[in-house]
């Protein structure tokens, strides 16, 4: 009986060890393995690696998608800067005010317009990306990405 108990304890410890070992051996994301990452202009694109594996994209699909992704990046960065400036301006004017005056209202309107512009740009990029895929892949892609683009991810998760 003692021998059986020892076997059981060893099995249990080995199981835990295997679980913890697999956590260390398998990195949290294959993206960390830079050798597998797509590279463009010296920039690593780990996010696309996930998309390629997750949607099982062919090489030609991936090349099209990567080109679209890289073409969209300058626009995304520019929008990002405008959002940051808008946020800073809104924060500054709202902090110095004690009422919703014309200046605050104007900046809120600008922020709303910028939000719409960002969402439209994202949506257009997502649709263009989906066009590079087979219908099943596009469905899966849109189902995953659209809630984030539309800001409705909290509804579905």
């Amino acid at each position: 009986m003692m021998r059986g108990l020892i076997v059981l304890i060893i099995a249990f410890l080995l199981g835990i060890g295997m679980f913890l070992g697999s956590q260390r051996i398998l990195k949290p994301c294959d993206c960390v393995n830079t050798a597998q990452m797509p590279i463009e202009n010296g920039s690593l694109l780990p996010e696309l690696q996930w998309l390629r594996l997750s949607l099982d994209l062919t090489s030609s699909q991936f090349e099209k998608m990567k080109a679209l992704h890289l073409a969209y990046q300058p626009k995304c960065v520019e929008l990002c800067k405008r959002v940051r400036h808008s946020d800073q301006a809104l924060q500054a004017i709202a902090s110095g005010s004690r009422a919703v005056n014309d200046d605050v209202t104007k900046l809120l309107r600008e922020r709303a317009a910028l939000t719409q512009e960002c969402q439209q740009a994202m949506l257009q990029h997502v649709y263009e990306t989906a066009d590079c895929m087979a219908p099943e892949q596009a469905d899966k892609y849109l189902k995953t990405v659209l809630p984030h683009v539309l800001g409705t991810a909290h509804v579905f998760h």
């Binding site: 009986m1 021998r3 059986g4 108990l5 076997v7 059981l8 060893i10 099995a11 249990f12 080995l14 199981g15 835990i16 060890g17 295997m18 679980f19 913890l20 070992g21 697999s22 956590q23 398998l26 949290p28 994301c29 294959d30 993206c31 694109l45 780990p46 996010e47 696309l48 690696q49 996930w50 998309l51 594996l53 997750s54 992704h69 969209y72 990046q73 995304c76 960065v77 929008l79 990002c80 405008r82 959002v83 940051r84 946020d87 939000t115 960002c118 740009a121 994202m122 990029h125 997502v126 995953t144 990405v145 984030h148 683009v149």
Partner: protein
């Protein structure tokens, strides 16, 4: 005296017996205790039988292999989930100007 005569005699002169009010409750309590003990005994026997089986090489090896595979399998499943979640968030972050702002402002 045969059984019929004894039966007749007992029926003819019933003994005045007064049961305590808690009699029924105590009987059921004893039954429950006896059943619990027997269940515990059965489990104990099962446990000992299992440990006895594990003392033999083949079941011991099978149990160890099962635990190792289970641990590795759970680790692999968790890895896949983490890969999907992190990859999804990284991609969304790369196309969403609002998330890029948050990312840029975060230390």
């Amino acid at each position: 005296m045969n059984d019929d005569q004894l039966h007749q005699l007992l029926r003819g002169s019933p003994a005045p017996v007064s049961l305590p009010s808690s009699f029924t409750r105590e009987v059921w309590a004893r039954i429950e205790t006896a059943e619990a003990t027997s269940l515990r005994t059965a489990l104990s026997q099962l446990w000992q039988a299992w440990l006895g089986t594990l003392a033999r090489p083949v079941p011991a090896f099978a149990t160890i292999a099962f635990c190792v595979l289970l641990g590795g399998g759970l680790g692999w499943i968790q890895h896949l989930e983490a890969f999907h979640t992190r990859g999804e968030l990284a991609y969304v972050e790369s196309i969403n100007p609002f998330l890029r702002v948050e990312h840029a402002l975060s230390p």
